[in-house]
Amino acid sequence: MKTFYAFCVVLLVFGSVSEAKFDDFEDEEDIVEYDDNDFAEFEDVMEDSVTESPQRVITTEDDEDETTVELEGQDENQEGDFEDADTQDGDTESEPYDDEEFEGYEDKPDTSSSKNKDPITIVDVPAHLQNSWESYYLEILMVTGLLAYIMNYIIGKNKNSRLAQAWFNSHRELLESNFTLVGDDGTNKEATSTGKLNQENEHIYNLWCSGRVCCEGMLIQLRFLKRQDLLNVLARMMRPVSDQVQIKVTMNDEDMDTYVFAVGTRKALVRLQKEMQDLSEFCSDKPKSGAKYGLPDSLAILSEMGEVTEGMMDTKMVHFLTHYADKIESVHFSDQFSGPKIMQEEGQPLKLPDTKRTLLFTFNVPGSGNTYPKDMEALLPLMNMVIYSIDKAKKFRLNREGKQKADKNRARVEENFLKLTHVQRQEAAQSRREEKKRAEKERIMNEEDPEKQRRLEEAALRREQKKLEKKQMKMKQIKVKAM
């Protein structure tokens, strides 16, 4: 009887264990399977003898929470151990227990005896039940990536800001001595110098200076690299690019003669020749080497005519260009500047774009991307070159021949343009005429008074007839002339 009770207890313990938390199964993976018949496992117990001690933990009634895990091959030994447990603990176990304790406790019928028939499948604990942060490693990676992006944004933005400030601090004196208005964002009512850069973007800073002899104004644009964008930073590691300073001086009409001229690195000039409207029209030749004037090989010249090159390449200019050749990307003087070529969908634009007399300078900041604020001082001599160029452009005048050539060029360009757009302009005129007719007809239709309607119609008819007559006359005249 006592033995029976012990067996029941042990059986119930094992049943409760099968409901235990999965945590307890961390170290071992086997799950015991039982037969429907509670005593099936004990059938062999009487026959077998006890062999070695099992590699499992035997639970006692005292700790019902502890798990019992058995290895596969140890099934035979299990029964032997039961017998051991029974004989050892049987006396002490049966007494504290009575049937009431086990009321409502259901045996586990789902444990089947497939001990040696089917292989036990080891199932991993599903990730969402593991309750550990490690399973969320992809999320952690994503968040880390985003945090790195944000950090880079802040650092890049600050670096660009410091570089801009360093540039402005080193150039402020020179600019203030030359221009009345240094720094204007166009929002103030009065034209007062703001005395600071105008931040357009995290990587673009503007400065407008005005109030100087010869020029209407000067727009300086500091185009830094996109240090705030991590993708850009990574792309730059493959292909180093420099920060750039772009200066655009708008000249007064009376202070600059009519010529188009550019000097710079060969690569930059080729690109400009393709992109810029005026360079493509007036300087059709390939960029020439400036060695004749003492320029280094890295620089080339694009010019409308030789006289302009001669005039521009004086000693001081050559000195500037030679000494700072590594920082100069392009220098472009033009009286026909209208920006890059506009690609319109409908074909050519119907009239020539507006032109302005402009001096454009593009400088590369030394450092090739790895710039420090102190490198900005190296650009100060280039600003001196800009000021010198403004004064030079005012002084330089073409001689009579040069002027004639320049005028001829401009007339030629305009004629070409008109020819190209002739068809479009005709179509545009035609459509305008039709619009007018339609509007008139509508007016006549809308007229309520029948008398007025009749009169307007007659007037329109008369006008049409007159036009037809004129045309016929013209055709006759042409025929006569042809003959």
Partner: protein, 106 residues
């Protein structure tokens, strides 16, 4: 008067106010990156919301961040903020519906 011209380049009477350059030239300079990224961000966040794909939502968040970093001065912040919020909501919604961790695509 002539000495004045030589020494002092200032012409206070000829001061011109700053006029911001036309906005047409700016998009060409900056490239289409912010627009594309904005669009991609929206598409991915909609995919993440509708199809309950977590990785879509995360990609949407990174797209909106990239778009924000590359944004031009002329773009208004409302659009940026709305796309950021949309992508964050896509992430939050997909995790509320299914708290399981993301499984790698490979």
């Amino acid at each position: 008067m002539s000495t004045n011209n030589m020494s002092d380049p200032w012409r206070p009477n000829k001061v011109l106010r700053f006029k911001s350059p036309p906005s047409e030239c700016n998009p060409a300079l900056d490239g289409p990156t912010p627009d594309y990224m904005n669009l991609l961000g929206m598409i991915f966040s909609m995919c993440g919301l509708m199809l309950k794909l977590k990785w879509c939502a995360w990609v949407a968040v990174s797209c909106s961040f990239i778009s924000f970093a590359n944004s031009r001065s002329s773009e208004d912040t409302k659009q940026m903020m709305s796309s950021c919020m949309l992508s964050v909501s896509a992430v939050v919604t997909s995790y509320l519906q299914n708290p399981q961790p993301m499984t790698p695509l490979w």
